[in-house]
Symmetry: C2
Subunit: 204 residues, 2 copies
């Protein structure tokens, strides 16, 4: 071998990282192999030594993003009492910061309407991500003693993802904020979390 032990591995990671951001910011169709490679500090030619196609890159990036998100959330919630964890997650997801930074946010809100038009494998990875998050919400609800978690969780997540997605399309600040803040409040009401002191950071 002639290159440093982990050159290729490092480069691979850099490409993946660049792709993960560009995927969420510009979507699967506008992401270009060339600009991903450029963002990774390389030229486009070497790409196919790392991924066998653009689609393979998209799938790897999506998968990687879900895995990182999952770990971040676990860390965010660890040690919190159940109801607090649930409220914290809702505030974390349905947030102005999340709205303003799609490139580091949840792929589900960022790629909602793109996904049905993507490859089967891409959709499968996306679906796995949805299941994972719905599963998380379900578990948090169960631990918090909320009734009927398995029937409520999908609808709760639809509300969360829908609100963040829509808030991104609205330039009218007041209305965009309204989508987020009323949604936070509403979800907590639905889950019976409003009377607790946990939601104290919530302005409504």
């Amino acid at each position: 071998m002639r290159y440093a032990e982990n050159h290729k591995v490092e480069t691979h990671k850099a490409i993946l990282k660049a792709a993960a951001a560009e995927l969420r910011e510009h979507g699967p169709d506008r992401l270009s192999v060339g600009s991903v490679m450029q963002a990774a500090g390389l030229t486009h030619g070497g790409f196919y030594a790392h991924f066998k196609s653009k689609d393979a890159l998209l799938i790897a990036a999506l998968h990687d993003t879900f895995e990182r998100s999952r770990r971040r959330v676990v860390k965010l919630l660890e040690g919190l009492p159940p109801k607090n964890a649930l409220a914290t997650y809702i505030d974390f997801y349905v947030a102005e910061t999340h709205r303003d930074h799609p490139e580091t946010g949840c792929p589900i809100t960022a790629l909602n309407s793109d996904t049905p038009r993507q490859s089967k494998k891409f959709k499968a990875a996306f679906e796995a991500g949805i299941k994972s998050i719905v599963g998380l919400i379900e578990r948090l609800m169960r631990e918090a003693g909320v009734a009927d978690p398995e029937h409520l969780a999908p609808s709760i997540f639809a509300t969360m993802a829908g609100a963040v997605s829509l808030s991104r399309t609205i330039s009218d600040q007041a209305l965009s904020d309204e989508f987020l803040s009323t949604t936070r409040t509403n979800i907590k009401v639905r889950l019976g979390l409003t009377d607790t002191a946990l939601a104290s950071e919530e302005p409504n």
Copy 2:
């Protein structure tokens, strides 16, 4: 003049109609001028006699679609008592049929995540559509005597749009259906519509 009085007007409408479907089915980026013209029974060259750019077409198609949707909904709900109208609209929107036919459905669910990446004018048209629908829901809520319509309506719509959007990305039939049916039920519970006989077609 040498062509029939309304040749051009008719053609214009045909292009718009083709674009409206292709926009919702394939998204703004994958919609191609060529295939829209072909769907309208024409060749691509004549396009610029009708629209000054692809973006202008997208905006016109989006605007047109919202207007048609609005009229269709007015017709659907006219004559219904308030609570019934509200429940009917929810069932109409959060529906398997809607999920399965993006090309004739609501552009908001179809273009959720594409919109932040489009032109300012496109986003403005999209935003007008959101405001119109949220306004409709607000009005229906007010007429139905539901509390706090102006704060609830955005969150209700986020739930509706989110559920349909997500249901389209899920190939797991059971889970996809679950998103829709639990969302219908949940919204009605939130709005106090469940005890009425109105929601009788609702399986849950």
